[in-house]
């Protein structure tokens, strides 16, 4: 139990530390990969909490996502190597306030919500995977499907916005009158 608590705390702190590193570096790739290791540490926290499937999934998904984010940051930022020491932060007061409010809200939810009886022993890993599958196809299906469709819509919209508009010439013979 104590070893478990130690590892949860250790990976939690590691996650926070890598989150800070994101803003302490000037290099876009370092920043993206620091965020990746922050997320990987979260996955390791899941593993320490004996949630094997969620942990492995988190560790797997974040690697691709953050790597793809890295190339986008390199493509679109004017100083991807960070040699010009561009400031990585902006709107400091607003983000500080938002961060504190979000932190307090998260702690409040964790402390004040009635989570029901706490299980003494976690079900074995294979059983967890089964339970998770049934949960995703049952009670939580609507939430996950909504989230998935929302993300897909956002991606398509972002792509559509990013494509420069093409002026089409009116084709010959079209009934198009200019005044």
């Amino acid at each position: 139990m104590t070893a478990q608590m130690f590892f949860i705390g250790f990976f939690g702190l590691a996650s926070v530390w890598f989150g800070i590193v994101v803003f302490r570096t000037f290099s876009m790739v370092r920043s993206a990969l620091a965020l990746l290791f922050s997320q990987t540490a979260l996955g390791a926290m899941f593993l320490s909490m004996q949630a094997e499937f969620l942990g492995v999934l988190q560790i797997m998904m974040m690697a691709t996502e953050m790597s793809i984010m890295a190339i986008f940051m390199v493509m679109f930022m004017m100083d991807p190597g960070g040699l010009g020491e561009m400031d990585m932060t902006h709107q400091k007061r607003l983000s500080l306030g938002a961060g504190i409010v979000a932190f307090v809200a998260a702690v409040a939810v964790a402390v004040f919500v009635d989570w029901g009886p706490i299980a003494d022993v976690a079900p074995d890993a294979a059983q967890q995977t089964v339970d998770l599958g049934l949960e995703l196809l049952g009670r939580s299906m609507l939430i996950f499907e909504t989230a998935g469709i929302t993300i897909l819509t956002a991606m398509i919209a972002a792509t559509a916005v990013a494509i420069p508009p093409v002026k089409r010439k009116p084709s010959k013979g079209a009934t198009h009158h200019e005044h």
Binding site: S27, V29, R30, L33, L36, E52, F53, V56, L57, I59, M60, A63, T64, S67, I68, A70, I71, D124, A125, A126, Q128, T129
Partner: protein, 298 residues
């Protein structure tokens, strides 16, 4: 004990891959060449490029090796010869192998060189092409086994190997595995003739030795994963299980290495469009067909 045995076998396997690769590229079968090459690499100076991203540059070769070894940890060679039979084994292989990408991006970005960087980003481009073709065929394999345990996946093929049960998935996975190991014709990441080694270009000496070792382990791990997922793992008549595993893994490795020799290199943009236009629909079809077969015959 099992871990030590498997790590030794992995090292031996990596050596055989090096021999096979040499055979496939130069046509000469020489058992001692990889040992001499390794000695030569270890004896040479490991040059540090100018203004590198030192952390990435140092971490990349090791991370490549670690991710390949971690993926090998859930691959069974016999019913009992497996480092850890995780309840999420089939997913864990993916999770470990994704860090090959992270390692190659680090290796590309780290040395502050144009060739290396192009190689690294190319690998990312290739990953976007083939990533789904790794995950989706595995999904179909897992559907049949009704378990993520790799040992269970092998047991599920007792009657009929998956290469017959789901041939489309096998072909897609095989191609994707070759791309993940950046073997020819998908070796634009290292691109010997064009980028002077790509991600490998700025590495030398002991760092390059670790990088090459990592890649060899990656190849044998992917061949072993192919055997576990599609070729019935340790199963086979007459010979003991470990022998069947060894024969199948080496055969798959040899085919992977030979196949690249007779194909033109594929540009990553073409790979991307072919994978998304044909590969992913086929993978979805494969999942659907396997789903129907599982429902009908169980």
């Amino acid at each position: 004990m099992t871990t030590a045995v498997l790590l030794l076998l992995l090292a031996f396997g990596a050596y055989l891959v090096a021999v096979l690769e040499n055979w496939a590229t130069s046509g000469r079968f020489q058992l001692a060449t990889p040992a001499f090459s390794a000695l030569a690499l270890l004896g040479r100076e490991s040059v540090l490029p100018r203004k590198p991203d030192r952390i990435f540059f140092e971490v990349a070769p090791t991370l490549l090796l670690i991710s390949a070894v971690l993926a090998a940890a859930v691959i069974p060679l016999t019913p009992n010869l497996i480092i850890t039979d995780l309840a999420t084994g089939a997913l864990f292989i993916n999770a470990a192998l994704v860090y090959v990408l992270v390692a190659l991006i680090m290796a590309g970005w780290g040395p502050n060189g144009a060739y290396a960087m192009i190689g690294g980003w190319r690998f990312l481009g290739q990953l976007i092409a083939y990533a789904m073709l790794i995950v989706m065929p595995i999904t179909a394999v897992v559907m049949r086994a009704e378990s993520l345990l790799t040992t269970q996946i092998v047991v599920s093929q007792a009657g009929l190997w998956n290469i017959v049960y789901q041939p489309v998935g096998f072909v897609l996975f095989f191609i994707a595995a070759m791309a993940l190991a950046f073997l020819p014709p998908f070796d634009l990441t290292t691109a010997k003739g064009e980028l002077a080694g790509g991600v490998e270009a700025e590495y030398s000496g002991v760092r390059l030795a670790v990088f090459r070792l990592g890649r060899l382990v990656l190849i044998i791990t992917l061949a072993a994963a192919t055997v576990v997922f599609y070729l019935g793992g340790w199963q086979g008549p007459w010979l003991p299980p470990w022998a069947w595993s060894a024969i199948k893994i080496l055969a798959v490795t040899a085919i992977m290495l030979l196949a690249g020799r007779y194909m033109p290199r594929i540009r990553e943009a073409n790979l991307l469009s072919w994978c998304w236009m044909f590969g992913i629909p086929l993978a979805l079809l494969n999942i659907f067909l396997v789903g129907v077969l599982v429902l009908v015959f169980s």
